[in-house]
Symmetry: C2
Subunit: 369 residues, 2 copies
């Protein structure tokens, strides 16, 4: 039967990656396991929660090829705490898994690898190639705009759209839209899929963010596959056609403000202290030539602060959910940000001159005092 020797750190790294696809609750107990498959000098760990599957390989001394399923949580906790750099894993005929490191010996029950639900097979075609850094950044800079609940399935995912050499990623929740554009090294045919938010959160945590490493993305009909380093991550796609975001976005404006981003963000984060989770008090911007006064009144108290952005165009009084503003401002790293406005009932846009991001936020009605 199986007899494998690992370097502990390598095995722990593989466990950390595969763990993302282990479901916390499931009606199918085998899914709480990792599948370990040994072949020549590598072992592949697979986890699958039926929405997403992860496969990652780790170097090992393999005495005999084979496979076994082990409880992912127990296995991972034990391996992490082992005393020595070297870890030996062997399997007895009755599927007991023996884990040995130095003088420490553990034995846990394994399960037949045949019962494991493996990652689906996918026809790969040509991959879209992006850097790990780009993919990680683009996810983190948009993911907060997806809807948290499942009332509208489409809103819980993100649009991934390739057009020539541009990757566009968009998320919206009915109150705001986040869009990021990234220029790719190569050109591709147009393709658009909707990727579940959970998948994107998981992959952004696994990705190293290294600009010199790449990810191959294969977009299938029902699945998307990300290949990078020693890892494959496959996820179901959300079916259907995404919202027509081009029609929601306008280039027109009547007022343009240029803020110091940090100053604006700090002021907004202070205002949020007066807003309890449940209520929706708007932050009101009173925009005039002399300066912009931001104010908020709630049951907790009131705040007022004057900033001095560069201003072009009309004076305006407009209210926003301050959390939506701060989410967008945190996703930007520029020193200066532009806020484009038309009137108190039209969306505000935070967008840069280079066209790498657009954050659209709907205003909130309020009673002027």
């Amino acid at each position: 039967m199986l007899n494998l020797t690992f370097l502990k750190n390598n095995l722990v790294a593989a466990i950390n990656t595969a763990m993302k696809a282990v479901p916390t609750r499931t009606s199918l107990p085998i899914l709480e396991c990792f599948l370990l498959e040994a072949k020549y000098d590598t072992v592949t760990l697979t986890a699958n929660d039926m929405e997403m599957a992860v496969k990652t390989t780790v170097d090992a001394e393999v005495e005999e090829n084979g496979h076994i399923a082990v409880d992912a949580k127990v296995f991972s906790e034990i391996v992490r705490k082992l005393p020595e750099d070297e870890v030996n894993i062997s399997v007895t005929e009755n599927l007991q898994v023996r884990i040995t490191s130095g003088k420490a010996h553990f034995e846990i029950a394994g399960k037949d690898g045949e019962d494991f639900v493996d990652m689906p097979i996918m026809e790969k075609g040509t991959p879209v190639v992006v850097s790990q850094m780009t993919l990680k950044d683009i996810i983190e800079e948009t993911i907060f705009s997806i809807a948290p609940n499942e009332n509208n399935k489409m809103m819980t995912g993100e649009l991934f759209e390739i057009n020539n050499n541009v990757l566009r990623v968009a998320a919206l929740d009915g109150h705001r839209i986040a869009i990021r554009y990234s220029v790719l090294p190569d050109f591709y045919e147009r393709k658009a899929v909707i990727v579940p938010g959970k998948t994107l959160n998981d992959i952004s945590r696994i990705l190293s963010g290294d600009a010199s490493k790449t990810v191959n993305i294969y977009m299938g009909r029902n699945n998307i596959l990300f290949e990078f380093d020693k890892t494959q991550l496959m996820s179901r796609l959300i079916e259907g056609e995404y919202f027509r975001i081009n029609q929601m976005i306008s280039d027109n404006y009547e007022t343009k403000l240029v803020f110091n981003r940090r100053e604006l963000l700090d002021c907004i984060e202070r205002s949020v202290l007066l807003v309890r989770e449940s209520d929706k008090k708007p932050l009101i911007l009173d925009i005039r030539d002399g300066g912009t006064v931001l104010s908020l009144n709630s049951v907790i108290g009131s705040m007022k602060e004057e900033l001095e952005p560069e201003k072009e165009g009309k004076d305006l009084l407009i209210g926003f959910n301050p959390r939506f503003l701060s989410d967008a401002l945190r996703a930007v790293s520029d020193e200066k940000v532009n806020l484009y406005l038309s009137n108190s009932r039209a969306p505000g846009y935070i967008r840069d001159d280079e066209g790498t991001y657009i954050y659209l936020i709907l205003p909130v009605n309020f009673v002027a005092r």
Copy 2:
């Protein structure tokens, strides 16, 4: 009315200290407040949850003496996020509290300071003087042995006993006892009180742990007062006479083991991975001349590891709750630890030769296999 100017960092430090006595839930809304009392060039912050009260002073420019109560949580969140180093606080005639820093202005509702329930007054007498480091350490090294629930009120507190120049602190939960001795610079009459565990947890978090700074402890009939730095912390005592721990402790033993503490602790922490919160699987020590085998069997799996402590006396097979052993071993910093045993039904003792600590742990019955 009140008009105060603080350095933000000083005010934040005082808030952090006083916050410990703000109740999370209370039927008396005024207790969710800090009382701010301004007098000449200092402001005193007071919080009181009726079990424990904290007073701490902070330097300030005071334009007029007076007092006001403000919601502790809201006040603390706002002050922390203020933009500048200087913070001005003023109170209007209708008890609105204005907080200003740079261009940021906040206003929250205050409450009449007269309604605040102040710290009780106590006849002080002579204090017991200990270093902040000693008090902090002695609490952290015993507090884990108090009982978590209120079934037996006395077990939720710790014995603080002064005898001549020795401070003895003890905690027990019916399965184990933790005792620490500390030699004080001065001599005192015998005194013993039972201090609530919550108070001790809070004070250990406020104390700096500085060996050169002292704490004055005043032990009253119903209350205990700790004075240190710019802070007074007063707590109710638990009424009654503490368990007679001297009678529970014995110096006799039939087996003595000397372990490398880190090695033993690591092995025990690995064994705990196989024990779910709810079940009480013992860690079994099979003690022989050649070595001690530690093993544990649970529904999750089994482990076995051999250590080679120095051994004196009889062979023995004995079982312990591994979490109790690891709690005690973590509270010790010595490189070597002594474990004294008599038989499989008698308590085990972890104690040092110098008599600074005793950890008594009752063994667990088990079926030898």
